[in-house]
Symmetry: C2
Subunit: 298 residues, 2 copies
């Protein structure tokens, strides 16, 4: 089976966009400004990678898109909230994201903080909504909640951010760099790949396979991100290129060099592909997606 | 039955403190600074009103403290996160809270933002943990999640904050003032009073009664807060008194005057007591607590 990844991604992203449009509070519902601020960042041109991974994870074990859409949207809400808070002056102080002004540049810092808080809270509401069917299992809902809270919380994404912030301008060890990348980025990608499968009733073995693939894929994604920051122009990225170095961020190229970073990313993608092969042909879109992540240009 | 409210509160608050000590990540677990920041604000002398309401709500319908402790702690995590974010320079810019330096004054703004994010995320993990028993019902877990997400999100607390921030320095209508107070404070207090009862299997009628009481109690609580800001010293409050007026905040006394505000708070407390009477003698601690909220001095 040969997959055209750009059109696969585009197709799934369109379904996610339609669902987000429906599931996010309307701009005409009070508090209007806050809802406008939330929608501004959610619809600022994200690739929808995390929700697509939720969907592809579900499909890889025989589930359907519509079974996991609210949870897919929840992962995008969490990703977007993290970008809004990261861009704040007290954090990375970014003016542009995906070629557009960052949230606080448009709505002010207070509203940006609240828009992030609102999106994070909404994510858990959407997960609850995903289990509205009478036959929903409490055990599966619990597993998804634990997965998402751990992937997004201090033992995952927020923890990685905290160590990232603390490490700015310092010489960090390769172990600390791994800690930052694994927590800041890989944790939520791993969670995305798992939760869709859990919702549609995957076996423990299948979830373990997706976990392993998600860990590799997530770390590879962040290493490629580091490489793009060095090798691309701001125009290509839609955000300021070379910013990691300017902010003395801990990155793979800075610590391991460009060539070793490329090799590490390639090895991780290969490991993810091998894991996914265990799931058979239904996981072929995911394998193609893994290769695409390695080859992406923005 | 006569209840000694201060010792009832103190006793329940001690149980909550012990549970928070156990359920919050340790300061020796990475990311250490972030976990220290979270614990700093959670253990900064809060009255634990919201968790006590979760417990008292459960007890009012025949449940036990230990059935709802993780969710009680979740409500305190949400309350604490909201205080940390509110105190930020971009929001209310407060240096002191409960007589101690605010989170960002000790840990810096970036860490304070992340500590808030971490606590909000942890809250949903704790709710999931509360349903770890094999017999847990998916419907009850869903109901609690929806209740908490709506009470804390843009249709509740965060929505009230957004309108509060937007209204600073403006002349607000009584309707807008009600919107702010109902959402900013009353929503989460109402949720607290409901969720404990839902977890222990309260009937729909019992939950409705607690909702009504919670709405009245929550609004009364915020009006009393407004009154205390005018009538107390900073020493009594442990935070800067008179700050609402200095920041041109929309408050009950500013719009309706002191006497009308006192009357409104008293009427709301009476309404809450009447609702709670429907639940019989097991709700007597809650009724005493309602009176105590009206008479509190800080």
């Amino acid at each position: 089976m040969s997959i055209d990844v750009p059109s696969f991604l585009k197709d799934r992203a369109r379904v996610v966009d339609e669902a987000l449009e429906r599931l996010l509070p309307s701009e005409s519902e009070p508090p209007e400004t806050l809802h406008r601020a939330m929608r501004y960042s959610v619809f600022a041109g994200g690739k929808r990678l995390r929700p697509v991974l939720v969907i592809a994870g579900a499909e890889a074990v025989g589930g359907r898109v519509e079974d996991v859409l609210p949870t897919a949207c929840a992962m995008e809400c969490i990703h977007t909230y993290s970008l809004i808070h990261d861009d704040l002056p007290a954090m990375d102080d970014d003016d542009y994201r995906r070629g557009q002004l960052t949230n606080h540049k448009v709505f002010g810092e207070a509203m940006a903080i609240l828009a992030g808080d609102g999106l994070l809270t909404l994510a858990f509401r959407l997960i609850a909504d995903n289990f509205a069917a009478a036959a929903a299992s409490a055990a599966a809902l619990r597993e998804v909640l634990v997965d998402v809270a751990d992937g997004a919380g201090t033992r995952g994404m927020v923890g990685g951010q905290a160590v990232d912030i603390e490490s700015e301008g310092k010489v960090v060890s390769p172990a600390t760099l791994d800690y930052i990348h694994v927590h800041k980025t890989a944790a939520l990608i791993r969670t995305s790949l798992r939760v869709g499968a859990v919702i549609v009733g995957a076996s423990a073995d299948q979830v373990r396979t997706l976990s392993a693939a998600g860990s590799s894929l997530g770390l590879a994604f962040q290493i490629v991100d580091d490489l793009l920051d060095v090798e691309s122009t701001s125009e290509q990225l839609g955000k300021t290129a070379g910013k990691d170095q300017a902010q003395q961020k801990a990155t793979y190229p800075a610590i391991h060099g460009l060539e070793a970073s490329r090799t590490r990313a390639r090895d991780l993608i290969a490991a993810a592909e091998r894991s996914l092969a265990e799931l058979g042909p239904r996981a072929e879109p995911l394998r193609a997606l893994a290769r695409f992540i390695f080859e992406r240009k923005a």
